[in-house]
Symmetry: C2
Amino acid sequence: MIYTSQTLEKAIATFAKLPSIGRKSAQRLVYFLLRQNQEYIDEFIAVLSNLKSNIKLCKSCYNYSDDDICPICVSNSRNSKIICVVEEPKDLFAIEKTNEFRGVYHVLHGLINPIGGINASDLKIKELIERVSSAEEVILALSPSVEGEVTSQYIAKLIKPLNIKVTRIASGLPVGSSLEWTDEATLSRALEGRITL
Amino acid sequence: MIYTSQTLEKAIATFAKLPSIGRKSAQRLVYFLLRQNQEYIDEFIAVLSNLKSNIKLCKSCYNYSDDDICPICVSNSRNSKIICVVEEPKDLFAIEKTNEFRGVYHVLHGLINPIGGINASDLKIKELIERVSSAEEVILALSPSVEGEVTSQYIAKLIKPLNIKVTRIASGLPVGSSLEWTDEATLSRALEGRITL
């Protein structure tokens, strides 16, 4: 026995189940919460209670949303003819933060990964094909990994016959990086994707 | 607007208030929770609900406990005549993990820090003096910081007149460290505290 309170032990074990939270971090978080007042903890309880019940997937783009259709899909200022395909909602938020993209999104909720048992039918690919008919361009913004490549190729193969433009975001050197320390794969991609000035 | 769900935004903001959890980590934790089933989240809610209501301070040593008196203070196998004074419950757990100490504890819940507005009366020092009369030895296991030193000196001054032995845990080179890279303060402490072989 190390902990003198079963409740404390249980709380630490529960927090330690979270990703990237080890036992020491869990201990620190629980001690922190113990020192807060009841309102602080009640706020946490409220947030957790609302999480699953309030948040659903937008019926158009499958992004997290409080309503049936998310604010991006519903907005008049967005061009619904340009659909950017992303893996997860967090990728959507990363693109939104650039303030560059004025089209709409489609969240796949994963990438094709046969080894991990994730097939095309597990993702929102069918739903993408269904809504794509009125689109002018589909931008594939998936990670430049093996799974990302496979998924991009798979989707491109389905959409191209519909006479819709399919593009992929560029792969190359990150801004601020140095050529010397760039790996060969990235460098050859950057050469391949060179643009005329 | 970056997030398309107010509930999501609120959840991330709440998690980001935790110590050492930034906005990115908060986002990852909330997304992780969103992907779990309801039972997983209910377990969290239960843990948080029980936290403040179930955990109290042991009336003897002021460690966290489910009962009025903690299992360490109640145990027959512990020597209640040796009291180890620590700053926080986490320090108690650190010492328990060594499996070396068979006495009991006293948790101060802080260190004297006049600049931070923490005086002796804010800590469990009065309570220590009250229970110390039957003790044979009081071991001060506080951090070797300025606040730790001040608190140690303060407590020693109060207990020594009662004819009770007061000791302090040793300061010196950590096991596995090298003399070359040890700072001067630690090295001079190690010299000072040298023991006869």
